[in-house]
């Protein structure tokens, strides 16, 4: 008798404790939403480097004030933001406005948590087709790009002139490899890039993959293998260092900034650091296999409006998005972020202010979204096998053909 009562009591206590724990969870959720409807709108972005007193932080706050609300801004690490957004949506407290890296847009659309720009009545006509393409699924856009960045080849003028290489002579892969050999013969190092086993590695490999005419749905075609063989040849011949396998784009930049390397494949966002590097540098577009500029992948964030239960909130969210993406603010934001603006008029303005941006504007014009061309959420399942293949080939555990065959098989399975 006593023992049954004791177990009963214990069970009741446990149940009570559990209930109170869940009640706590529920309570904080509901308080979050009531908070927001009281004139506070939540805003997420991947720029933790900018605090509230930075020009970016002030601009976001200002756009809120103009729309008649207070904006509560939270900055997350960019690799974290996608999963944070999924979790928030699952809990029913997604932010009102969210800026996400462009390849994440298709994942979030797949999850059904983003609104179409056409449903919100946002105007995206003036935005360049290839830039907004990264945020389009089945012909509808799900966000407004704040700007775009992309990859090109930085070169060290002193190293090249010492090796007797004219940067203007680099038109295709052969002339580039020839230049690297000359640099090596002159006792300097050739090229550095990032071939790490994360999305960054795929991002850096794509200009070469696409520059050979490769197709992401056929990784193991001769064209894709040619791009991988080019990289492998460089590493095997000592034209590129072995540690590209570990390089992030940041550490790859640090290598280039030592002044020993002739070339570094890196992005628009390094322009500020390039001026501080202490040597003369130039920028050329990544060459295609047989000439011309290779298509490069677009980077950069989209301003999106996640789905809310309370649809009345969209009006204000729309005002905030429009404010952040109007021409005057785009110019200011893209200057802060060193992005290329997504509209032709603002690009012209940017080049007028800073002529060094000219090659980048050209590169962006030739750029492609990674998830464009109907790939959408198939892209992540191709990208992961692709970076694994790059790693396998460069480290010598597989031949480029075998590595790409494995990658294709694994991409098809998903």
């Amino acid at each position: 008798m006593i023992s049954t009562r004791r177990t009963l009591l214990a069970a009741l206590t446990v149940a009570g404790v559990l209930a109170s724990v869940t009640a706590c969870g529920g309570g904080s959720d509901s308080s979050g939403t009531t908070d927001a409807s009281g004139g506070t709108y939540t805003f997420w972005d991947p720029y933790p480097q900018f605090d509230a007193s930075s020009p970016w932080g002030k601009r976001v706050a200002e756009c809120g004030t103009k729309a008649g609300v207070t904006v509560k801004r939270t900055a997350y690490d960019t690799t974290d933001l996608g999963n944070k957004a999924l979790l928030a949506a699952q809990q029913g407290n997604a932010p009102d406005v969210m800026m996400v890296d462009n390849p994440v847009v298709s994942t979030l659309v797949e999850a059904g948590i983003l609104n179409k720009t056409s449903d919100l009545g946002l105007d995206t006509k003036s935005i360049q087709k290839n830039i907004i393409g990264a945020g389009e699924i089945d012909g509808s856009a799900y966000g407004v790009p704040i700007g775009a960045n992309t990859l090109a080849l930085y070169y060290n003028k002193k190293v090249l002139s010492a090796a007797g290489v004219d940067p203007a002579s680099i038109k295709d892969w052969n002339s580039l490899t020839a230049a690297l050999k000359k640099v090596k013969a002159a006792g300097k190092k050739g090229i550095t890039f990032s071939a790490i086993n994360t999305e960054e590695g795929s991002f850096q490999f794509l200009p070469w993959f696409w520059g050979a005419g490769g197709d992401l749905t056929k990784l193991n075609s001769a064209k894709g293998v040619a791009a991988l063989s080019l990289w492998k040849g460089w590493v095997d011949d000592g034209l590129a260092p072995k540690d590209v396998l570990q390089n992030t784009q940041t550490t790859s930049w640090q290598e280039f900034a030592t002044g020993d390397y002739a070339f570094g494949e890196n992005g628009t966002w390094q322009l500020g650091n390039a001026d501080k590097a202490g040597f003369d540098y130039g920028v050329i577009n990544v060459p295609g296999q047989s000439g011309g500029s290779a298509p490069v992948p677009t980077g950069g964030e989209f301003v999106t409006v996640p789905v809310q239960k309370d649809t009345a909130r969209y009006d204000v969210s729309k005002k905030i998005v429009t404010c952040l993406t109007n021409d005057a603010n785009l110019l200011a934001s893209d200057t802060t972020l060193t992005y290329v603006a997504p509209t032709a008029s603002v690009q012209a303005e940017q080049v007028k202010q800073n002529p060094k941006l000219k090659p980048w504007v050209d590169a962006v014009a030739a750029a492609r979204g990674r998830t464009s061309g109907g790939l959408g959420t198939k892209y992540p399942t191709i990208s992961q096998p692709m970076w694994t293949a790059v790693q396998a080939a460069l480290s010598g555990s597989k031949s480029p053909q075998a590595a790409m065959d494995t990658a294709q098989a694994s991409a098809q399975k998903n």
């Binding site: 994942t107 059904g112 260092p241 990208s383 694994t388 790693q391």
Partner: protein, 322 residues
């Protein structure tokens, strides 16, 4: 335990009476109150276990048994798929190498950690002047945040500018691709992990050595035993219980090592140094399109392996106590 001790003095006379005659309502009320007090004492622990142990474990199991896509993750309507995720994981070409790497990583790490830890413990047990200082210095790997030590190892092992290759260069040895060659990557992370694990072994084994009575050594030296004989016949056998616990705890700790490998190689190049722990993370969070189901399945397999070793530990401990 503590609870019983706390209210025993107060309750003692009442219990004595109650057992002698029919329980009076007053006594019963008193007893119920004391039971409630007892429960109130246990409640925080139960709440803690439920919130931070049972619930996550249940969620992880639930994730691994359902077919989660990003859409159904948000909507919360993922269909039950039984063992599909586990089947998918077991059929994946990454599974075999990941399991093998996990085992090699765990057992080789532990073997070296234990042997070096034991050698150092015996060395420091000889009480020379600098012993305490040196022993404290040996604890540094344990005190450093893992991100610091792992990043430092990764710089030291850098194939271009790392200090290890620079050092080898002096001896005319060619540069080794410590973290960039598929033949060396696993070895490199094991070396770093051994370095991190030595202090743990050193501390536990050293304290075990302190408990061996000095008379035994005195007797041995009177009998003219050599250093090796002393170790084989006295130190090692008397250290066996401590050794067993050190090894088993080390096993459970090493199985789940993730941060070190992720910081140094991210499981690469290719999947040359990927273990079950890094693979699970890779599946769940490493790509733009998370695969929560298979990721959770790998995590559960890892928990299962750790559980087997955990039970082994409990058994060994019980046998020692008996």
């Amino acid at each position: 335990m503590t609870i019983a001790r706390v209210d025993r003095p107060r309750r003692a006379p009442a219990t004595a009476k109650a057992s002698g005659s029919d329980a009076l309502p007053l006594h019963r009320r008193q007893r119920r109150r004391s039971r409630l007090t007892a429960l109130a004492f246990v409640a925080p622990l139960i709440a803690y276990l439920a919130a931070f142990y049972l619930y996550p474990l249940y969620r992880n199991l639930d994730l691994s048994l359902r077919d989660y896509t990003v859409r159904s993750f948000v909507a919360g309507d993922a269909p039950f798929s039984g063992w599909d995720n586990f089947q998918k994981v077991l059929d994946d070409p990454t599974f075999g190498p990941a399991l093998r790497h996990t085992m090699v990583f765990t057992f080789v790490s532990i073997a070296f950690q234990y042997v070096i830890g034991l050698a150092l413990a015996i060395f420091f047990n000889r009480r020379f002047r600098l012993a305490p200082t040196l022993r404290a210095l040996f604890l540094i790997p344990w005190l450093l945040p893992l991100i610091v030590s792992a990043s430092t190892w990764s710089w030291m092992f850098n194939s271009e500018s790392g200090v290890v290759n620079y050092f080898l260069h002096f001896f005319g040895v060619d540069a080794v691709g410590w973290l960039t060659s598929p033949d060396w990557a696993l070895t490199s992370v094991i070396i770093a992990n051994v370095w991190i694990g030595i202090p743990f072994n050193l501390v536990i084994l050293y304290s075990g050595l302190q408990n061996i009575p000095a008379e035994l050594y005195e007797a041995a030296s009177l009998d003219g035993a050599s250093a090796w004989q002393v170790f084989r016949r006295i130190t090692f056998p008397l250290l066996r219980p401590v050794s067993a616990i050190t090894l088993l705890l080390g096993l459970v700790y090493t199985l789940k090592v993730f941060d070190l490998i992720w910081i140094m190689t991210k499981g690469g190049p290719g999947d040359a140094s990927s273990t079950l722990a890094t693979w699970s993370y890779q599946l769940g969070f490493g790509t733009l399109l998370p695969k929560f189901g298979p990721g959770a399945a790998v995590g559960n397999l890892l928990i299962l392996i750790a559980l087997v070793f955990g039970l082994l530990y409990v058994r060994v401990q019980r046998r020692q106590e008996a």
